[in-house]
Amino acid sequence: MFDVIIIGAGICGASVARFLSQYKLKIAVLEKGSDVCVGTSRSNSATVHSGHDALPGTQKARFNVLGNAMYDQLCQELSVPFKRNGTVIFATNEKDMHSVCDLKKQADINGVPGAEVLSREQLLHLEPGFGARVLGGLFAPTGGIVCPYTLVIHSCYSAVQNGVEFHRNTAVAAVKKDGGAWSVLTDKGRFRCNYIFNCAGVNADIFNNMVSEQHFHITPRKGEHLVLDKSLAPFAKATICQTPTDLPGGGHTKGMGLMPSMDGTLILGCPAYDSIYPEDTATMRGGVDEILNYFRTFWDCFPISSKIPVFPEPKIISSFCGVRAHPDTDDFIVGEAEDAPGFFNAAGIESPGLTAGPAIGKHLAELASDKYGFIRRTDYNPFFYKTKPFREMTEAERQEAFIKDPDYGRLVCRCEQVTLAEIKAAIHAPIGAEDINAVKMRTRAGMGRCQGGFCSPEILRILSKELQRDPLSITQCGGCSKVLLGKVGIC
């Protein structure tokens, strides 16, 4: 019997788990994926939005601004790469300049600190190199970038440190009231608990609609992105987008833009499309072409063009697609279901969900505690400490790390400079990596320009050795995603 079951280990589930772990509660997180952070929270533009584009008065606006303000402390506590690089929304015509001014008004109402409308000259002062077509734009200094999967994974690690259980590969089939308690039926058996936190992303509507008459519907909305090699990182500073007006993407997007990532790569995106399948993260030719066509046309607007004059298509190393949970209410659904006491929703958390997630987690934990009188623990530890990655160490730090552990001297992933020591640490972490993608998400091994061409056989071998499993059983991303299909000579 648990006090709390959390469904889903994305940014919301992880944040709820971590904030609830401050109380004396027996908590389990159920995640149907083979790892934590395998859905929406992994595949997005990694942007910490300032909050200028959410409609005033909405939950989106509220939690966006609250969440944004939490990021400095949160990322410090959890050893997560985060930077306030600032966001610029530029305009290329008078009509778009009006939208920029409207965004500024909206930013003020939402309580976004420091947002201002800049003239072309002011923009150039901020970042030289904006193209001749750019008339001006909105500058939001609180806009930032974060490594989203590191944030979620470390939030989960922090929760584990404070006593939370994580059950991966555990899919919830049904939720129902069973006597005074909740019964959560899964493919791994039944869990009973007093409180449920529904953080199931694109599937959150299913669970809500099982227990509450206040139905809502979630539409999976796909967002496509391209990734450019990190050799371009020195040429991009702020997150820069064009005003969404008159752009393709059906108005579902915050606009097309170029977003530096904490890993040094540049993310381009993103057009958005509704989908019918919640797990459909397949990229589409149309979406990819839309990004390519946009940047072929508008590259000269971006400051990077002063150093790299032509859109460098050969520098594309990857493309990916994320699915966001778009609710028919068009706003985040955060709180206890009115007709199902003890059932809390963090549902419809589409963009800016990554930014808002920590604030939603904190709010729900406080809401439940206030109502149900949870007791605080005295030994809660908010810190998760992670050694600096090898690639960021100085020469002296590298030597010091090597003396403590010679596995720091063995480079496994050459593109991202990931050592054997770091891969072993990822495998033996509190929620250890059990497949190739899980190693990648924890270390960046395989995420660089060769995309695992050189290191994936080695990572497979390390996983097999450390987990004491047959290499044939090692998967790319859990389930039936086996990498190898047989031994030579034994088909």
Binding site: Q451, P457, V483
Partner: protein, 422 residues
């Protein structure tokens, strides 16, 4: 004994980064040219690079007049390295290289190593173009391999990567792998090539595909990948002259594996810190006819310089680079004036890009790839609009590197190399 500090700076005459075919050939050649203080730094656990996983034959015909497997070819060089007593460090990853030839490396045996070299040879080889670079739409399941990765699993580790395989790209590694998959009992359903011709050697198309009844579809590409956990199939579409998929030509091929053989990219990430000029045309360093880069005393050869068709040519080129590096170390390098060689119409990946007007050898060898297939064409070198050399060819294809040489004495100003269809 592990170093407790990284203060000790080791001085070495010649450091070679990469212990594959290029690095070993350069080392042996430098040794023959009188250099004894040589150190090869190799990031994997053995010398020989990718040759070790090439168990097929066809190596050594030009270099040794013998038909060897890749591993046999490598052994000739590793034996010679041993015989000459040339030093090498394996499991040693070079972290940085500076303009002053200072190298920082790390290994599990020694931690951080700092080396100052009189001369450096860049022989890091190349990597395969990954799926991401192609932005093929669809899912991202297990079962997508670059050809070299599949080759490593099969030949070095002894594992089958797939039972029903589609290969995208008809580069040499893809063709070789098609045959190996077939021999190991996997079914190769199709090789799709987006171009109207293969970038692989003709002999490989015959020996690896035709002999095994594996279909090769030109003007065809993969337009979507299906499968959530493991690949369940791919969509093949025909493409038009501008290489855009033709609507209505899509067909689904059920398979469990997609192997990509879609190009090789020279590995030159070390060059930026040292300020070595790179060519966007070859992906390698810009070099002169002695294979010296824009940084004096730093030389480049093999697939790190430009992607070769045959390892024999890598060896032969690297031997020259090793000899020139030896001359540099002995202080015999000349400060000749230099002119540029530019690729003109129909020419890509031209090497060298600079030519010294004076030098020990009388003839300068140029290598390049034609941008497209040409029949009855003329390769022409012009200077100031005047033709100074030309040669007629019946067939030129991007899959086979072209070579032509020129008297150094005939060069006085910048050159242009072009292909003219006749």
């Amino acid at each position: 004994m592990r170093n407790s500090s990284v203060e000790n700076l080791q001085n070495v005459d010649l450091v070679i980064i990469g212990g594959g075919c290029a690095g070993m050939s350069a080392a042996i050649s430098a040794h023959k040219n009188g250099i004894r203080d040589i150190l090869i730094l190799e990031r994997s656990s053995y010398l020989g690079g990718v040759l070790k996983q090439c168990i097929h034959n066809g190596f050594g015909i030009h270099r040794f007049g013998q038909d060897l497997t890749g591993s046999e070819y490598a052994k000739r060089y590793t034996d010679e390295i041993d015989r000459l007593g040339i030093s090498f460090l394996t499991d040693t990853f070079v972290l940085s290289l500076t303009q002053d030839h200072d190298i920082t490396a790390i290994s599990p045996a020694g931690g951080i190593l700092r080396i100052r070299a009189k001369a450096v040879i860049l022989a890091m080889g190349c990597r395969e173009r990954p799926r991401g670079a192609l932005t093929i739409p669809g899912t991202r399941p297990a079962g997508i391999f670059s050809a070299g990765t599949a080759q490593r699993y099969l030949n070095l580790e002894g594992y089958i990567v797939g039972k029903k395989i589609v290969i995208l790209g008809s580069g040499d590694i893809g063709l070789i792998m098609a045959r190996e998959f077939a021999i190991e009992g996997s079914e190769v359903l199709a090789v799709a090539e987006i171009m109207p011709y293969s970038s692989g050697l003709i002999r490989n198309i015959v020996q690896c595909l035709e002999d095994f009844h594996i279909p090769l579809y030109y003007n065809t590409t993969v337009t979507r990948i299906e499968g959530t956990e493991r690949v369940t199939g791919v969509w093949l579409s025909q493409v038009d002259a501008s290489r855009k998929p033709v609507p209505g030509t899509e067909r689904f091929v059920a398979c469990d594996t997609l192997v990509l053989s879609v190009g090789l990219i020279p590995e030159n990430e070390l060059c930026s810190e040292a300020g070595i000029e790179l060519s966007s045309d070859t992906g390698g360093a810009v070099v002169d006819d002695s294979f010296q880069t824009s940084v004096p005393g730093v030389f480049a050869c093999g697939n790190a310089l430009h992607v070769h068709d045959l390892v024999d040519f890598v060896s032969m080129e690297s031997e020259v680079a090793g000899e020139r590096a030896a001359q540099f170390i002995r202080g015999k390098s000349d400060t000749a004036s230099v002119v540029r060689a530019e690729p003109g119409f129909g020419v890509m990946a031209l090497v060298p890009q600079r030519v010294r007007l004076t030098g020990a050898e009388d003839r300068i060898k140029f290598q390049f790839r034609p941008r497209q297939r040409f029949e009855n064409a003329e390769i022409r070198i012009t200077s100031d609009g005047c033709r100074i050399s030309s040669v007629k060819k019946r067939v030129l294809t991007p899959g086979e590197m072209c070579e032509l040489s020129l008297e150094r004495s005939s060069i006085h100003s910048d050159l242009k190399v072009e292909v003219i269809g006749l």
